[in-house]
């Protein structure tokens, strides 16, 4: 990722303003730095600023000026949302909540000095640090594919321009061509996400390229909402979608990005679009901070989301290893509120209540055919533990599926205003 000159200048100004702030009377206020302006970080920053009513100095570090949500990017691929629909700015967090929003990359954490180094050269001291960097990709899970191949074979799994690239590739597929998805191994962001994506791609192709094929190459034996998706694919897209699981070599693959070939257990498949969703790990800054484990995730204390390796750092969302919650925007938002309460309690002595977590993931299979899965969780010593849950049933009637889809639209409106004010 490169910084443009313009972005760099803007960043420098923002950082200067931030660093100058303590000189202007903010001295003595406890400082919270939040890295990552997504569902975890933006929510945490907003809740700490809102609920502490100015008692805590909150800085949010996020490279992008407009954040394009990864959640609902599948609906963009299906044509149900425009790209602009997914974009959100940080203006309200700065103007209405008094958060110092710094558009820059965090490139290091000095845990002894308790400061964050920025690519633009600034240094942000903190009393508590909240890391919510999302995911990065492991390059060892898909032989033949590296990040350098993401233009030829996009992941489109972090929102943003990759989603645009994938959409344009799908639209440019030849008649009767093949879209291939290389599905990720567990654990990964948004468990139903790849399969909702397949549904949305099928929806698009059904209308524009009905003889096209969809091939899912999957290292997993089973996947989230499998019964619901397979029922829906059968009902809506009969014959278009084929899935190769590990029983047929879905876990023994090699990619050849230059030739647009997928080799499945020795058999070469020529494809027109190859959407590679690799194995994942915590966003790089968590690794740089030295709080990740061998699996690449940051283990946390469930009741507060504090890193198990540094009590002054809280880790939210996809990057954390917390137990039973799926990696999702909803989960990150839920965890952010628990962490915000814990941080406020620690820094200002405000009341602390028991941690409560919940998650729901909605997926769209075809127009007005929405399904959902969700659960609630509690903090135990060992992990965030699932207490109860639900899932849509196969065979539900159309009106309920439509209501479920509309509920997902309501959730999107709700969570984005919860994040960005």
């Amino acid at each position: 990722m490169t910084l443009s000159r313009r972005g760099f200048l803007g960043t420098t100004l923002a950082v200067s303003a931030t660093l100058a702030a303590p000189m202007l009377g903010a001295q003595g206020r406890p400082r919270v730095v939040v890295i990552g302006g997504g569902a975890g970080g933006a929510t945490a920053a907003r809740y700490i600023a809102k609920d502490s009513q100015g008692a805590i100095d909150v800085t949010l570090v996020e490279p992008t000026r407009t954040y394009y949500t990864c959640f609902f990017s599948n609906l963009y691929l299906g044509g149900f949302k425009s790209y602009d629909d997914l974009g959100h700015g940080y203006g309200k967090l700065a103007a209405e909540y008094g958060i110092n929003v710094v558009h820059d990359w965090a490139i290091g954490v000095d845990r002894d000095a308790k400061s964050v180094a920025l690519a633009g050269g600034g240094l942000l001291p903190y009393d508590r640090l909240i890391l919510s960097p999302g995911i990065d990709f492991r390059e060892d899970t898909v032989p033949g594919w590296t990040l350098a191949d993401q233009d030829a074979m996009p992941h489109a799994y972090k929102g943003g321009t990759q989603a645009q690239l994938l959409k344009s590739q799908i639209e440019a597929m030849p008649e009767g061509g093949t879209y291939c998805m290389v599905a990720p191994p567990n654990p990964y962001r948004c468990p139903p996400g790849p399969y909702e994506r397949v549904s949305m791609v099928a929806h698009t192709l059904k209308n524009t390229n009905p003889t096209a094929k969809i091939l899912i190459v999957d290292p997993k034996e089973k996947f989230s909402k499998q019964g619901l998706f397979e029922e829906g694919w059968n009902n809506h897209y009969g014959g278009m979608i084929e899935r190769v699981g590990p029983d047929f070599g879905g876990d023994i693959i090699e990619l050849r990005p230059d030739a647009m070939e997928v080799v499945i257990d020795g058999e070469v498949e020529k494809v027109d679009v190859c959407n590679v969703i690799p194995g994942q790990k915590a966003g790089r800054i968590a690794e740089l901070a030295g709080i990740t484990n061998e699996a690449g995730w940051a283990p946390v204390v469930p009741a507060t989301m504090q890193s198990r390796m540094d009590e002054n750092i809280h880790v939210l969302g996809d990057a954390s290893q917390q137990g039973d919650m799926p990696k999702s925007g909803y989960s990150a938002n839920s965890q952010a509120k628990v962490a915000a309460m814990a941080v406020r309690g620690a820094l200002t002595g405000s009341r602390v209540f028991p941690a409560k977590f919940s998650n729901t993931c909605w997926s769209l299979i075809e127009t007005d055919d929405g399904v959902k899965v969700g659960a609630s969780y509690e903090a135990t010593e060992e992990k965030i533990a699932r207490t109860s849950g639900f899932i849509s049933e196969t065979g539900e009637d159309a009106a309920l599926r439509k209501a479920t889809y509309e509920e997902s639209l309501g959730w999107y409106a709700g969570i984005t205003s919860d994040m960005f004010g």
Binding site: R351, F353, G374, S376, G410
Partner: protein
């Protein structure tokens, strides 16, 4: 037939796209005779009410009559029926006659999609059925002389939770409610606007408590809400009700 004092009042333009569905604005004037005769409209409206009184998405049907909530509201000054939510509460002029505002932007009869089980009548203005005149006529008549509509009996035992009076009497810890509310606000928007998920702000406390216990006891059907309410204790429900009565 009870007539409104000012049935000719003009429409007030929408101020926001997410206007709350209970949009009591001065607009009953449009309930005119454009749909045909008064009596025909009343008959069609009555049929519509029977439908959207009992059913909601997915074919879940309730025996509770949500129009009960509309008893006596017509011709009351705005803001005076305490069980009801009013939009733009602070902007009301007390002398304005209550009326319902319906829009005709969407002609499809989608009321069935929009009625949650036993909450308030969920008249999302833009999705109301085309035969709004008839519905208004019936509701208006009903408001003037409340009685079970078209012979339907309100069988509360099937649709209200079993709640000891002590539970309803628990004083809510508002600060705790504020913390707990964060979980709700992920989906139900803090400013009360509605997009596929109903508003939960500014509810009367008791109604809020009853609603959550209804989910907790599995009487209301939405599985997300059954899950969320299922692990809330009585004190927590009271705390949430105290908060959402007057959220920040």
């Amino acid at each position: 037939m009870h007539l409104l004092r000012r049935p000719w009042l003009k429409m007030i333009p929408d101020k926001g796209r997410d206007r709350r569905f209970f949009d009591f604005l001065v607009a009953l004037g449009l309930c005119s005779l454009q749909f045909g005769g008064w009596a025909d409209a009343a008959e069609r409206g009555a049929q519509m009410l029977v439908q959207f009184k009992f059913c909601q998405p997915g074919g879940y049907c309730s025996e509770t009559d949500p129009t009960q909530r509309l008893d006596d509201i017509f011709s009351q000054p705005k803001g005076t029926v305490k069980e009801l939510l009013y939009s733009d509460e602070k902007k009301h002029r007390a002398d304005e006659t209550l009326a319902l505002k319906f829009e005709t932007s969407n002609a499809a009869p989608r009321v069935l999609d929009r009625l949650p089980s036993y909450t308030r009548v969920d008249y999302r203005a833009s999705t109301l059925l085309p035969d709004q005149a008839g519905v208004l006529v019936v509701m208006q008549a009903r408001s003037a002389s409340p009685k079970p509509l078209l012979g339907a009996q309100r069988t509360a035992s099937h649709s209200l939770p079993e709640l000891a009076p002590e539970i309803l009497a628990i004083p809510g810890d508002r600060e705790y409610g504020a913390y707990l509310s964060a979980e709700c606000i992920t989906c139900h928007q803090a400013d009360g606007s509605y997009q596929g998920i109903p508003s939960i702000t500014n509810w009367p406390e008791e109604e809020f408590v009853i609603a959550l216990h209804s989910y907790k006891q599995g009487i209301r059907p939405n599985p997300v809400m059954q899950m969320i309410a299922g692990r809330l204790g009585d004190e927590e429900i009271a705390a949430l009700a105290a908060y959402f009565k007057e959220p920040d």
